[in-house]
């Protein structure tokens, strides 16, 4: 096992095993199995810096290290207002 991160929401902490080369999306997919929420409804924030994690970047690129604390937010409701250009 290379590393783990602590994903927190409300009163729950999920310990997720991962690798620095994995992307945020990989983590969201692991979370999906635990919380039954599709990855596009999840938003992860690195608590130490308040940075929102980018789906396509790796953990190493975003300075998410072993034992890091990551906050989990979930999109509310079924509908999402599309972004109009």
């Amino acid at each position: 096992m290379a590393m783990y991160i602590r994903v927190k929401r409300h009163k729950t902490t999920y310990f997720i095993q991962c690798d620095p080369t994995e992307t945020t999306l990989d983590i969201k997919q692991k979370l999906q199995a635990l919380i039954d929420q599709p990855s596009n409804n999840q938003q992860l924030t690195l608590v130490a810096t308040n940075d929102i994690l980018d789906d396509l970047k790796t953990l190493a690129e975003q300075k998410v290290e072993n034992d890091a604390v990551v906050g989990l937010a979930l999109r509310k409701g079924l509908f999402c207002i599309p972004f109009v250009n």
Binding site: M1, K11, T12, T13, F15, Q17, A33, L34
Partner: protein, 97 residues
């Protein structure tokens, strides 16, 4: 809930979802999860510790993972804040870790 994870619940009701493999670093938890017969703990993969506070339980979970990393050859130190040492030792004694 996934099959290979367990939920550990602290005195204040905070939940820690960890891999079964990690939780089984503790002999006490291992016994709870693997003993024969259908115990609620074994079936739902949930264990409540009314005597362990949230910060201590979190530290214990961090220790589980540190222990797995250490046994696979990564040599880092496990940092313990002096002010939680006593409470942590009592919990570790109870959990056989």
């Amino acid at each position: 809930m996934k099959e290979d994870t367990v939920k550990l619940i602290s005195a204040e009701g905070f939940e820690f979802v960890v891999d079964k493999k990690a939780a089984m670093v503790s002999q006490t938890i291992r016994n709870m999860l693997t003993s024969p017969g259908s115990f609620a703990e074994t079936e739902h993969g949930e264990v409540t510790f009314p005597e362990i506070s949230t910060p201590i339980l979190e530290k214990i979970c961090q220790y589980f993972y540190w222990s797995l990393q250490f046994s696979s050859g990564k040599e880092t130190e496990f940092h313990i804040e002096p002010e939680i040492t006593l409470e942590l030792m009592m919990a570790a004694n109870y959990l056989h870790t």
